[in-house]
């Protein structure tokens, strides 16, 4: 080991330099500094088209710091009578112009970093969402973790609505979306702007977004409303950047079967033997395989779906534990699934939008074929044949085997 008395201390030599640097920069510096109380935090943004002028309209929902939070609770003791949200709207020729025009009406500098939800109105989506998207991708404050929705109905009502259980519309929609996604499998899995951009750019794949339906306004004032103002169900189908139509719940479930994202789908079947009674099976595990077969311009897909379910309610007279009966249950379940898939395929063909990404599968697996087909994919897609093979298995009955007996 070497003994060095004291090394050249950079500290003593450069300390003065740092101090000068800091002293000089303190008054002139602080370029990007903003105190939190000059910021208005946006939790939800809505993009719409102004019906009168035809300009782009941007509406944002801000969290009202005076309403919530601990300070209020500490001081007031009770629930504040201020609304937890605050809405600003403005129009402009471009999105950014509209966004800047928002500041005209706002007492605070708008902060776009915490947007949780982005809403596109049906009108805007039909005209094309590209002008909005470029702003979203380019602006540094916007994050791609925001979740997109296409809103059917009055978008302003959704923007101004108060949710009975939630503070802000932005997080309320997300919570609603997540619980639906977990429990029902009726919304497409596009859960962030990142996925949206990804889907838009992928060859042979059309965009599909979750749909939020605003419920009709009742006559009572929104303040005392005890009803959730919005329903999230189904999907909005795009071709390119334009909205072309919607899938309803069943069709969306069918779509999820094809893409392999159906998680918990409830299936209502008729009882074998007594056709008036119904039973419900909930799928808890599923697997999808999709293989293309290309012969010239003829494209066939082999779709294999395997679903495992359990009986959740059973109103049939009896449940004999024998193979024939269980098999007939399985067959009925498979038929329902096949039916859902066919409905969604039919709808997609009708809309001419390859939301399943069938073209994308060809692109990934057979890039040479795709190069040939890419130009005519619009014409080919409605003609694509899909051979559906469903294997459905009911694994377990729940806590009881025999249905409830009533003398």
């Amino acid at each position: 080991m070497r003994i060095v008395r004291t090394e050249n201390s950079p500290f003593a030599a450069v300390l003065s330099l740092i101090l000068i640097f800091m002293i000089l920069s303190l008054p002139t510096g602080c370029w990007d500094r903003h105190e939190p109380d000059v910021l208005g935090i946006i939790t939800m943004a809505a993009f719409d088209i102004d019906r009168d002028s035809g300009l782009l309209r941007v509406g944002v929902q801000l969290a009202n710091p005076l309403a919530g939070g601990t300070a209020q609770k500490q001081q007031g003791g009770g629930v504040s009578d201020r609304s937890p949200i605050w809405v600003v709207e403005a129009t402009g020729h471009t999105v950014f112009e509209a966004v800047k025009n928002l500041e005209l009406l706002s007492t605070r500098k708008l902060l776009w970093t915490h947007i949780e939800t982005m809403l596109f109105s049906e009108e805007l989506a039909k005209r094309g969402i590209r002008p909005v998207l470029d702003f979203v991708d380019r602006e540094r404050q916007v994050r791609l973790i925001a979740r997109p929705f296409v809103v059917q109905g009055d978008i302003n009502r959704l923007l101004e609505a108060e949710f009975p259980l939630e503070q802000f519309g932005g997080s309320a929609l997300i919570k609603q979306f997540l619980s639906i996604q977990l429990e029902l499998s009726v919304v497409p899995e596009v859960d962030s702007m990142r996925v949206l951009f990804h889907h838009l750019a992928m060859p042979g794949l059309e965009l599909i977004l979750p749909r939020a339906v605003v419920l009709e306004k009742e006559n009572n004032p929104p303040k005392s409303s005890k009803i959730n103002p919005v329903l999230i169900s189904g999907a909005a189908v795009f071709r390119g950047e334009r909205l072309v139509g919607f899938l309803d719940n069943k069709e969306t479930t069918g779509y999820l079967w094809v893409t392999g994202n159906a998680r918990r789908a409830p299936l209502v079947l008729k009882c074998p033997g007594s056709e008036d009674e119904l039973l419900t099976v909930e799928v808890f595990e599923s697997k999808t395989e999709l293989r293309p077969e290309i012969k010239g311009d003829k494209v066939r897909f082999k779709l294999f779906v395997r679903a495992e379910g359990r009986i959740q309610d059973f109103a049939c007279p009896e449940l004999p534990v024998e193979e024939a009966f269980i098999n007939s249950l399985n067959r009925r379940m498979a038929a329902v699934i096949r039916n859902e898939i066919e409905m969604s395929l039919e709808k997609a063909r009708e809309l001419g939008a390859d939301v399943f990404g069938l073209g994308n599968i060809i692109y990934r697996m057979k890039p040479q074929e795709w190069e040939r087909l890419e130009g005519k994919w619009k014409e080919i897609f409605p003609e694509v044949m899909v051979d559906i093979e469903v294997e459905a298995i009911i694994r377990r009955p729940g806590l009881i085997v025999e249905p409830v007996k009533i003398r």
Binding site: M1, E7, I18, P36, D37, G69, S171
Partner: protein, 559 residues
């Protein structure tokens, strides 16, 4: 009038010289009185020159002259032996054991008359006593300096008429604080002993722990007036000779009038004197000192203080606590990791808070930002001012807590916690977020086992806050980098301060951020124990007995 004149004269001649001496002489002649107005360094020099003479009375007269017949100086005159040789016993009351003095007097007064003892005449009595009769004779003094050094340490001087020498006897014994657990460094598990103010007790505590003859202790006196005993202990053959050499030269260089605490020594011998970070470790715990010595470090004991210095001191030493080694290793590693984290938190947390809230609110999760924002509504200050206000309040509070008598210490905590924290927050002067941040920072800085590291963190924290307020996270990062460069460029007695993190030494990582098993620590720290890297036999992990294992066989037989 004349005193004013001398005062002026003193001021104009701060250093004593020949001129001064002449002036004194003149004064003596004028007033006719022996006004001794020599200055302190002159007095010290004169005192050192004075030798003992063969006349007891003259010697005693000189002692009285030198020490001004101090109140605690005791002189007992007596006559010894059949020839009634005049002799005197000189000691300082309070430093000696009374019964030993009585024994000594008995020897001088009575034992010299015992039959069969020869040579108790005026010429030989000194030799006889020294060789035969006094069991605790230490050495002989030929001059005043040795004599006074002895009695100021609690020894007793024996002066005989006709001999220009004095016997110094070991009669030390004064009241010291008992060995208790140090308040500042407590442990859950571990020895309850702590150093006291007496250097001998302190060295004995180490000697009791390390019984090898290779534990060497060297000593020297530092301080021209206090003559404080300073000793340094190390294991010969393990410690690097360069470190010792360097330490000796640094210790010998010290020229100071008095050393009252080891902090004085620390400032004279430490590297990078401008740094806020301590490069010499100090502790009150003998187990820590022993552990450090076993690693190849050197411990410096200073008389009059329980704080022992250990060097070289490196960063990881300051975040280690003795408990780490006594508890099982997972918890030892965990709390040590936590402590390092807490140190970083205490440095950076307020700065990061300011930077994030002012510059990068996008880094906070939505709900957190909304909560902070709504809690801050109505607070009249910017975030920086708010956090500085609370930090300074807290620093004052902490200082008040230390200085307060213990009886009213609890009042401080009530005033601090309730009135300042709660009321300021309720009045809307500060937001609860800042209170939480400042409180957590304070707790984090308390968790540091070394106070000297924590106080470095206290100052640097303010710099980081300023940087964060000026440049956001970029400024905090700059602060971190400068701090890192500073720490990396420091050495303590040649030992890199950041080792084993930088330079990265893999084999030492077992005892840095984590604490490995004891049977795993087969090697000494690479740069300290390089003279003999191997510390213990490897493969000592306890295992269940295997076939053919002698120990296992015996166990089974016992069954």
């Amino acid at each position: 009038m004349s005193s004013v004149f001398t005062l002026l004269k003193k001021l104009s001649f701060p250093f004593p010289g020949k001129k001064k001496k002449n002036g004194n002489k003149n004064k003596k002649e004028k007033t006719g009185q022996p006004v001794d107005s020599r200055d302190i360094s002159q007095r010290e020099a004169d005192f050192k020159k004075t030798a003992l003479v063969a006349d007891v009375e003259q010697n005693l007269h000189r002692i009285i002259e030198i020490s001004g017949n101090s109140y605690d100086l005791c002189i007992r005159r007596c006559l010894a032996g059949p020839e009634e040789v005049p002799c005197a016993i000189v000691f300082i009351d309070g430093l000696v054991k009374k019964d030993v003095i009585d024994d000594l007097l008995r020897v001088v007064k009575i034992d010299t008359f015992k039959t069969g003892i020869k040579g108790v005449h005026k010429q030989e009595i000194y030799k006889t006593l020294k060789r035969r009769l006094i069991p605790n004779a230490l050495e002989e003094a030929r001059d005043m300096e040795t004599l006074y050094n002895g009695i100021s340490l609690g020894e007793t001087a024996l002066l005989f008429d006709g001999t220009a020498k004095a016997i110094l006897c070991e009669t030390r014994g004064w009241i010291t604080r008992s060995i208790t657990e140090p308040d500042a460094e407590t442990t859950i598990r571990g020895p309850r002993e702590g150093f006291v103010e007496n250097i001998r007790t302190n060295t004995s505590l180490i000697r009791r722990r390390i019984r090898s003859p290779n534990l060497w202790m060297e000593n020297l006196h530092v301080g021209s007036l206090t003559r404080t005993e300073v000793a340094y202990a190390y294991i010969k053959g393990l410690v690097g000779e360069e470190i010792l050499e360097e330490l000796r030269s640094r210790l010998e260089r010290i020229d100071i009038d008095g050393v009252l605490e080891s902090g004085y020594i620390e400032e004279y011998i430490r590297d990078t004197p401008f740094s806020l970070f301590p490069t010499v470790f100090r502790t009150e715990r003998p187990d820590r000192v022993a552990a450090a010595i076993l690693e190849g470090r050197v411990a410096i004991f200073t008389n009059g203080t329980p704080f022992v210095l250990i060097l070289p001191g490196d960063f990881s030493m300051f975040v280690q606590a003795p408990d780490d080694y006594y508890e099982v290793w997972p918890i030892g590693s965990f709390i040590r990791f936590l402590r390092t984290l807490a140190f970083l938190v205490s440095l950076f947390l307020p700065g990061i808070y300011v930077a994030v809230l002012n510059f990068h609110p996008e880094l906070l999760p939505t709900t957190l930002l909304l909560t902070i924002q709504s809690a801050r509504e109505g607070v009249p200050f910017p975030v920086v001012a708010e956090i500085l206000l609370m930090e300074i309040t807290f620093e004052v509070l902490r200082e008040a807590g230390v200085r307060m008598p213990r009886a009213i210490g609890s009042a401080i905590s009530i005033v601090g916690a309730l009135i300042l924290g709660e009321a300021a927050f309720r009045a809307g002067i500060v937001s609860p977020g800042v209170v939480i941040i400042v409180a957590f920072t304070a707790i984090a800085s308390f968790s540091s086992p070394s106070f000297s590291l924590a106080i470095a963190g206290r100052l640097i924290r303010f710099l980081i806050i300023f940087l964060g307020a000026a440049f956001g996270l970029l400024g905090v990062q700059f602060g971190f980098l400068v701090l890192l460069v500073h720490l990396a460029s420091m050495r303590s007695f040649g030992y890199p301060y950041l080792a084993p993190y930088g330079p990265f030494i893999w084999q030492d990582m077992k005892d840095a951020l984590v604490r490995g098993f004891w049977w795993q620590m087969t090697r000494r720290p690479k740069l300290l124990g390089f003279r003999e890297p191997l510390r213990q036999r490897s493969g000592q992990m306890p295992r269940p007995p295997r076939k053919g294992d002698q120990r296992g066989k015996n166990d089974r037989k016992g069954k």
